[in-house]
């Protein structure tokens, strides 16, 4: 199956009201031109799942500033003042989740787990409305899996099969998000002939489509 598509084909995989996981940490490892295309297409009422709110001009921040995000699920929004304002004004719903819990919830969504028990957030507002489960006398919060319609990732090296690696700190949430959505589209910085089978981070079976950064 041919996985390589054009940037303009992205529209075939987008719809109003959809949920999208976006790789990256403060926009490091985020597929910027895919975000730009969604801004251009003006897809509405999106639920974004991302480590953070990016910046006003970088990462998922651009979607937030454009008013396209109905709900943001993230661990941190401090570097995008517009996100804070829209949240404060009740225009954008915002669910703040501890970073490690967010990673585990996405992992659970991709790994077929019904949830996980974490001590993180005990005794804080994070535990509100959640089931507390006691194991051997110790309390844990039951956190549930998160999945989405689409994942947009930024791969550094991608082979023709879709095997994908992420260099340095661009890796962050990209690999786990590849496992937890109905569809995965990778923006490839560079297409390569071969990735050493011992070093593949995201196996090709997770990758549905590839957009080349330089067409």
């Amino acid at each position: 199956m041919e996985k390589i598509i054009k940037l303009t084909d992205l529209k075939n995989h987008l719809f109003d009201g959809m949920s999208i996981m976006v790789g990256g940490f403060m926009a490091v490892g985020t597929p910027e031109i895919l975000i730009d295309e969604i801004v251009r297409l003006n897809i509405k009422d999106i639920t974004i799942i991302c480590n953070d709110a990016g910046f006003v001009d970088l990462g998922v921040g651009k979607l937030i500033v454009a008013g396209q995000v109905k709900k943001l699920i993230a661990s941190h929004i401090g570097l995008n003042p517009v996100a804070g304002r829209l949240m404060g004004e009740g225009i954008m719903e915002c669910e703040l989740i501890p970073q490690g819990t967010l990673a585990e919830q996405i992992r659970a969504g991709g790994a077929g787990l019904g949830g996980l028990l974490t001590p993180t957030g005990l005794g804080t507002i994070v535990e509100e409305g959640k089931e507390i489960i006691t194991v051997d006398g110790q309390d844990f919060i039951l956190e549930l899996p998160i999945r989405a319609d689409l994942a947009l990732l930024y791969g550094t090296t991608v082979d023709k099969y879709g095997n994908t690696n992420f260099t340095k700190t661009t890796r962050n949430f990209n690999p786990v998000m590849a496992t937890a959505t109905d569809k995965v589209i990778v923006l490839a910085r560079e297409m390569v002939d071969r990735i050493d089978p011992d070093n593949v981070v995201t196996p090709h079976i997770f990758v549905d489509y590839i957009v080349k950064e330089e067409e």
Partner: protein
């Protein structure tokens, strides 16, 4: 001490808590300075929760690489032996108790070891980032902070802001001294001789248990 001297004083005293080989996560701001004052012969491993161990100094023009950043999004470098990993392994390391020491700032910290650092409702809602996991998972949690904020105590009997974690802080280090959270309360273990014990008590909302505290010793 001016602001910078105060910060460096605190960072120097925190640095004395580090042991050779420790895996350490330093929060943004003041805690980051701790790396500048490692005792002689001590090598530690700095983790950054966005996915690396072996955090090096800020890059110069030659070593700058836009793909290497710390958890604050700032450019950093990687030391020899360091490596990168994804967010799930990063937080397995953090939550799983593999981080020996985390040093963080605070909005408030209290005598029960509870910490507030991520939200001032209605005013500032940056989010908790990785702080809740760090404070819950690290073997030792040190709060490095100025003793007061514009004259208002930051070390309280009980935090009034929403918590980052409950009962997880082990030690508080300020320009006034070193405090340890124990079952029976907050002990003042060391004090900065530039202040009197009364001044320290006055600047602290929490009740301090004081039993022959030593003088803080840091190198100039």
């Amino acid at each position: 001490m001016d602001k910078n001297e105060t910060k460096n004083y605190i960072a120097k005293r925190v640095a004395k808590e580090l042991r050779d080989g420790d895996l350490v996560n330093l929060g943004i701001g003041l805690p980051t300075l701790v790396g500048n004052f490692l005792p002689k012969g001590i090598k530690i491993n700095l983790q950054s929760e966005n996915g690396l161990i072996g955090l090096g100094p800020a890059p110069d023009d030659k070593t700058y690489d836009k793909d290497i950043t710390n958890a604050g999004g700032q450019p950093v470098t990687l030391l020899d032996g360091g490596m990168y990993f994804d967010s799930t392994l990063s937080f397995s390391i953090i939550r799983g108790g593999h981080v020996d020491i985390t040093v963080l700032g605070c909005l408030q910290v209290d005598s029960t070891g509870s910490l507030a650092s991520w939200i001032i409702p209605g005013k500032m809602v940056p989010g908790m980032g990785g702080a809740m996991d760090l404070v819950t998972g690290a073997k030792k949690v040190i709060i490095a902070t100025t003793h007061t904020n514009r004259g208002n105590p930051k070390i309280l009997k009980n935090c009034t802001l929403p918590l980052t974690a409950k009962n997880q802080v082990n030690m508080i280090i300020t320009e006034m001294g070193v405090m340890e959270v124990r079952n029976d309360g907050l002990h003042l273990l060391e004090y900065n001789p530039e202040y009197t014990i009364d001044q320290i008590i006055e600047a602290t909302d929490a009740t301090l248990i004081i039993n022959n505290p030593k003088k803080v010793e840091v190198e100039d």
